[in-house]
């Protein structure tokens, strides 16, 4: 469903993403890890057509993101790290806007908004102005909007930032549920525990290059050779393991 083929992206002389290749199938939950500045957000922006690769191709559902942007975009749902919502609209009006822009017929749109209202428990604030929403409410509305058209591909950038544990749990359930329903989910995150828990495959990017790509079982095998935790594996792969050794735990 998602194909990145030898994708390179430069910012002037700086190479942000370097010959990145991967494929994510329908129904797969892919977690994309990496330190700050590793190229995660750049990759995501190329996945949704906001940035173009300097070299290589990005395809969603077989559509090239550069030349067939609209065709690819109708398959995509995107939740950025800081989702933009029109402050002077109510949540319902925002959903109506994104639904109409995605070509949903009025009756179908009303039905889907009603479904999102139930699924995301938006009742309490759906008709209030977005400017009065808390961070959690905004995040819920952003997800409801991104999933309104039942996208085949869901791209989420750092979805757990600023959420309390209960909300993180709910989010994990949501993402797993989407993947189980056949959606290809591409999630960038700093929260290693979330990735370890719910991802089917994990990719670790470092300085624009894919340092590791494997299934959850492969990750666990690697972890066994790297101190038993994804954190240690992550630190080793991103070059900081020796510089910042972890303190021993009480059990150790």
């Amino acid at each position: 469903m998602i194909e990145l083929d030898e994708v390179t992206r430069r910012y002037g002389r700086k190479v942000a993403v370097d010959r990145l290749s991967m494929r994510i199938a329908a129904g797969e939950l892919f977690a994309f890890l990496g330190p700050n500045g590793a190229g995660k957000t750049t990759t995501i922006k190329m996945l949704v057509g906001l940035l173009w690769p300097s070299a290589g191709t990005v395809r969603v559902g077989g559509f090239d993101l550069v030349h067939q942007t609209r065709e690819a975009a109708r398959l995509l749902g995107y939740v950025p790290e800081e989702p933009f919502l029109y402050e002077k609209l109510s949540g319902r009006e925002f959903l109506e806007f994104t639904g109409r822009m995605r070509g949903l017929a009025p009756a179908e749109l009303a039905r889907r908004i009603e479904r999102q209202r139930n699924d995301f428990q938006l009742d309490a604030f759906l008709d209030a102005l977005v400017e009065t929403y808390s961070h959690g409410m905004r995040q819920r509305l952003a997800f409801a909007s991104a999933l309104l058209h039942e996208p085949a591909v869901l791209v989420v950038d750092e979805p757990t930032v600023g959420l309390d544990p209960r909300s993180v749990h709910a989010l994990k359930e949501l993402l797993r549920g989407r993947a189980a329903a056949g959606t290809a989910v591409f999630m960038s995150t700093h929260t290693l525990a979330v990735a370890e828990e719910i991802a089917d495959r994990i990719g670790i990017v470092h300085e624009g290059r894919l340092a590791f790509l494997g299934t959850r079982d492969e990750v666990r095998r690697q972890m066994a050779h790297n101190g038993g935790s994804l954190e240690r594996l992550f630190l080793r792969l991103t070059g900081d393991a020796d510089a910042a050794p972890l303190p021993p735990t009480d059990q150790e």
């Binding site: 975009a73 398959l75 950025p80 029109y86 085949a152 209960r166």
Partner: protein
């Protein structure tokens, strides 16, 4: 999301095999128009329920401005009719006035549209959302273009409508002159807006790194051309004003604005023909304008379809080098030479650095004070004609008031929001071993220090060019100091008394109730303090003038009373100035001490 559980089991299954159809162009347009309507409706409701004072002020002041301009233009056109008896010369004169006015607006609209559409297309927060939706690029562009068109041209309508209506009324123009006005103006605004939009997309697409250089070069060329034209048009013998020869000379110098390829000339010619009941020629010019507007609009849309996404990619994907931030001489001088407590000096240097590194702030200071300086330095021509001392005195006090009013807009826009903005940083400032009033005093010193020098220099320029007597100059300088102190004290004090910690945008904080109140109170303060010194000075000068002095001097003791009034006026202005400085600061300090962040 704390109380929520996303019910994954209830989620409808994704349908990756079913590819939704692309949205129809009309549906895209309808959705975007609905979005706009809904946001405007919400804005209006909020303004009507929360900001009635501000709205009333804006409506009343705009209506007054419009009516004043209508009266001024009507009077001007009547003067031209009475001054120029030769009808063809009168026509040419009005044509030249229209052409130069619209040519100037044409250029300004190109720039303002380009800048507005640049921020709308590339930096607006909703741009990534719209570009990630399956919407045609041209539609996103058109949506932003319409916004830019509205925001760049409303002032054009406000400025041109009183002039054109006044002309129609003075000239007793036929009904179709008034009926075709909106079509003429709308078609005309499309032309520069589309030109600006095309220029913006082209520059960002093909020269993203050099976009500011292109803008600066264009502005430099424009300012140079305007200065040269201004110099060639306005320089001439003083004694020849408003004579037929003077009009002919001026008309010859204004020929550049009547090039037949300029849309501004089509507009002025079409309107003049309509007013002269030459409807066929007028319709021809209107058609010409509409045809060009539509062609340029389509060209802009076509260009956006080809280049907007690529331009967005190139701009967002450019390498932004880290800017080195080093202390400069003024920081070092403040730290070493100013005899203030260390904490105050540190706060001052911090605010100075924030100010210096934010071009939005210093560029507005530069533009406003630069324009005033330009006007004051060119005032000699008017001064030499205003031979009577009363006129010179009145103009000098009006100039002083203008300096105060400009300063009040700047203190409202930049100084008033400072405490509100500090609220967001209070986790840091609040934990420092610094008394809260120290923060307030540092803001006050920053405002006074930043405003005193430019304001006093401007007032000195004005007085020097007008040839104002020495003691009036001294009075102006002391009034100017009182204005700087009072306006700074009011902005800082009210800013602390009525903070808005929810907003991060200084312009929105300034546009709130507190900011509006500060602006209105500042204007009242300026008018009162200038009146207190201007009126006694006026009569004092009249009494000593060779003609009027005789009349006033005939009354016993009048000169003594005028002296007393002058001294009392100055003393009252000092008392008012000090009260306006200290009382708001005291209020602000008390509020800041009680404040919980």
């Amino acid at each position: 999301m704390s109380q929520v559980e996303f019910a994954s089991s209830r989620l409808a299954p994704a349908e990756p095999d079913v590819i939704p159809a692309l949205t129809a162009p009309n549906a895209e347009a309808a959705a975007l128009w609905q979005l706009r309507r809904r946001m405007i409706r919400t804005h209006l409701r909020q303004i009507l329920s929360h900001s009635r004072l501000r709205l009333s002020l804006i409506v009343v002041l705009s209506a007054l401005l419009w009516a004043g301009m209508f009266w001024l233009f009507a009077d001007g056109f009547q003067f031209l009719e009475s001054a120029i008896s030769h009808v063809p010369t009168l026509h040419r004169t009005v044509g030249a006035v229209f052409s130069i006015f619209f040519a100037a607006l044409l250029v300004m609209l190109v720039f303002s549209s380009a800048i507005l559409i640049y921020s709308g297309l590339f930096w607006a927060k909703d741009a990534p959302l719209l570009l990630a939706l399956p919407v045609r690029t041209q539609r996103v562009f058109l949506h932003k273009f319409q916004e830019a068109l509205f925001f760049s041209s409303w002032a054009f309508f406000l400025l041109s409508s009183p002039m054109l209506l006044a002309y129609g009324v003075t000239k007793s123009a036929p009904w179709y002159y008034f009926a075709s006005l909106p079509a003429f103006l709308l078609a005309f605004t499309y032309v520069p807006a589309a030109m600006g939009a095309i220029a913006c997309v082209v520059v960002v697409r093909w020269a993203p790194r050099g976009r500011y250089h292109v803008l600066v070069a264009a502005v430099a060329v424009l300012v140079g051309a305007a200065a040269w034209l201004g110099w060639t048009v306005l320089t001439g013998p003083d004694g020849a004003l408003f004579t037929p020869a003077w009009f002919r000379q001026i008309l010859a110098r204004m020929q550049f604005s009547q090039q037949s390829l300029l849309p501004s000339w089509w507009l002025s010619s079409g309107l003049l023909d309509a007013a002269d009941r030459n409807w066929s020629e007028s319709t021809l010019y209107l058609s010409l304008l509409i045809a060009n507007a539509l062609l340029l609009r389509q060209t802009a849309i076509w260009m956006a379809g080809r280049a907007y996404r690529a331009a967005y990619d190139r701009l967002q994907g450019r390498h932004v080098p880290r800017r080195a931030a080093r202390p400069v001489w003024i920081d070092r001088a403040l730290m070493r030479l100013v005899p203030l407590p260390l904490s105050v000096r540190l706060l001052l240097v911090k605010d100075l650095r924030l100010f210096r590194r934010d071009p939005v702030q210093w560029s507005q200071f530069l533009v406003f004070f630069g324009l005033l300086a330009l006007y004051f330095l060119n005032i000699r021509r008017f001064g030499s004609n205003a031979r009577q001392i009363a006129w010179v005195n009145m103009i000098s006090f009006l100039n002083l008031s203008v300096v105060g009013l400009i300063l009040s807009t700047l203190t409202t826009r930049f100084i008033f929001p400072m405490i509100s903005l500090e609220g967001r940083r209070f986790w840091m400032l609040g934990l420092l071993p610094v008394r809260r009033e120290t923060i307030l005093w540092s803001k006050f010193l920053f405002a006074v220090g930043g405003s005193l020098l430019p304001c006093c220099v401007l007032v000195f320029f004005s007085d020097a060019m007008l040839g104002v007597p020495g003691f009036i100059q001294a009075s102006h300088q002391s009034t100017c100091i009182l204005l700087c102190l009072g306006l700074s004290g009011m902005a800082v004090g009210l800013g602390a008394r009525m903070p808005n910690f929810r907003e991060s945008s200084p312009s929105r904080i300034a546009a709130g109730f507190g900011g509006t109140l500060n602006l209105v109170a500042s204007a009242l303060y300026i008018l009162t303090i200038v009146a207190l010194t201007a009126l006694p000075s006026h009569f004092y000068l009249l009494a000593r003038h060779s003609l009027a002095g005789g009349f006033l001097a005939e009354r016993p003791g009048v000169l003594w009373w005028l002296d007393f009034w002058l001294v009392a006026g100055i003393a009252a202005s000092v008392v008012l100035g000090l009260a306006t400085t200290i009382l708001p600061l005291m209020l602000g300090i008390r509020a800041l001490r009680r404040m919980e962040f």
